[in-house]
Amino acid sequence: MTLSTFKNVFFSAVFIATTFVGHASENPENENDKEFNAKEMIMHHVKDAHEFHVVDWNGKPITIALPIILWTDQGLTTFMSSEFHHDDSGSHIVEKDGMKFVKFHEKIYQLDVDAQEVSFDAEHHPTNASLPTDLSITRNVFMMWISVITLLLVFISTARVYKKSNNKVPTGIAGFMEPLIVFVRDEIAKPMIGEHKYKKYMPYLLTVFFFIWINNIFGLIPIINGANVSGNIAFTLTLAVFTFIITTISGNKNYWKHIFWMPGVPVPMKIFLMPIEIVGMFVKPISLMIRLFANITAGHIIILALMSLIFIFETIAVAPVSVAFALFIGLIEIVVTAIQAYIFTVLSALYIGMATEEAHH
């Protein structure tokens, strides 16, 4: 029942999204004439985008249009990304609420009032446009929401299994999810934080673990792997900041003492250690942020680079090698999805555990 519900919702979400598919306009340049640029293609896939590019069909890109939300000096402005007609070079101007917008390298610029088109300086930076605050539902946000819907469906139906059965026996989906939840509890929270205090942090650790994991997995699905949510530094930064906030708030006297006035060492050493410990406080979440970002992005880049070999050498003969290697890396990536989610959670728990540890001298 749960699986079919999940399927229904998932496919209906995809279906609704595809109804927004924008129609490709006449492209001034023929795609086939352009020289293949591996770096551009890879970066395009790894980075965030304002529309969901599914596939090119007969030279026309098939995309899922996503809403663009801008906070300009005149307030909120929204329109669909299809209004840019897949233009990313800043040449197509969208006029909305009396303001002109262009999209250039996945950034939305607001043209100055009197400007008719974008002009660039030597480094290809627009000179007569400014960047409004961009709160668009980008493809990463879109994928993140799909992952949230999936998580909610999976875990709320898991919880319902327990409500339904009186003897609390895990059946169906609960039989599959319960070991994972118990794993987070017994292998991550309990040993890192301790028997007495772990309960308070369980919701955060579980949510972070499954949120990262599912986004890692969704990042590997070929058609939608343009959405590289957990390999985006904004995403990892946010989660790392959450861990930092929780660690800092739960820090007890002992934790702050270890940072500012390390016990058990001579006074000059205390003074010497203080700045190191203060830096360490921030380095911990920064390492969390970089590790997840770098691992997931690197995985995507390797697979895409291997695939690019076929187009760089312009021969199909490379394809078996590329596919074989990409498959190999893909299998490793499947393991990495879980490992990186585990590492992020285990280190978060460790930092929380360090912050809440009681003095033992």
């Binding site: 970066m43 790894v46 980075k47 965030d48 939300i69 390298h105 996945e106 605050t133 961009d134 709160l135 668009s136 539902i137 980008t138 990463n140 946000v141 993140m144 929401w145 949230v148 998580l151 909610l152 875990f155 709320i156 898991t158 919880a159 327990y162 409500k163 609390k168 026996v169 609960a174 999810m177 319960e178 939840i181 118990v182 509890r185 369980m202 919701p203 955060y204 579980l206 949510t207 949120f211 985006n232 530094i233 904004a234 995403f235 930064l237 946010t238 989660l239 959450f242 970002f293 992005t297």
Partner: protein
């Protein structure tokens, strides 16, 4: 450079999405699931503990039974011993009494025999005395017809009387 510059929009949406997910999952998933899991673990722990208790109780019961059996056996032993003692004592008593009774009867019999013997002796003496007088009368009658014979008889009788 874009790659490692966090986009404000995504940060904004991630914060909102994550907080939403955290709150909803905490309320509708983690709480009931973790509650159910720990309830079950408690249940298992309790069941194991009660099984252990039952086992101990059984052991105690067994030990009790053993003890009671032992006591009963000891009691039986004691009873048997007492009975045996009583038997021996009774037999001894009976023997003593019988002995005493027998002695008494024997004594009485002896006394009776003695008195009977005395009575018999006395009667015999009387009889002998009567007989003697009778004989003496007859002899005297016979002898008195003949002087010599009378004297001879007296003399022989006297001799006999001496022998007696």
């Amino acid at each position: 450079m874009d790659l490692i510059t966090p986009g404000l929009g995504l940060v904004f949406w991630t914060v909102i999405t994550f907080l939403f997910l955290l709150i909803i999952l905490k309320k509708f998933a983690w709480k009931p699931i973790l509650g159910a899991v720990s309830d079950r673990e408690e249940g298992i722990k309790k069941a194991l503990a009660s099984a252990e208790n039952a086992r101990k109780e059984m052991e105690n019961l067994h030990a009790d039974n053993e003890r009671i059996l032992k006591e009963a056996r000891a009691e039986r032993e004691a009873l048997l011993k007492e009975a045996r003692d009583i038997k021996v004592k009774m037999i001894d008593d009976a023997k003593d009494e019988a002995q005493a009774q027998a002695n008494k009867i024997i004594e009485q019999a002896q006394a009776a025999i003695e008195s009977e013997k005395k009575a018999a002796m006395a009667e015999l003496k009387n009889h002998v005395a009567g007989l003697s007088i009778e004989i003496a009368e007859k002899v005297v009658r016979a002898e008195l017809s003949n002087k010599d014979k009378q004297i001879q008889l007296v003399e022989s009788m006297l001799g006999e009387a001496k022998l007696n």
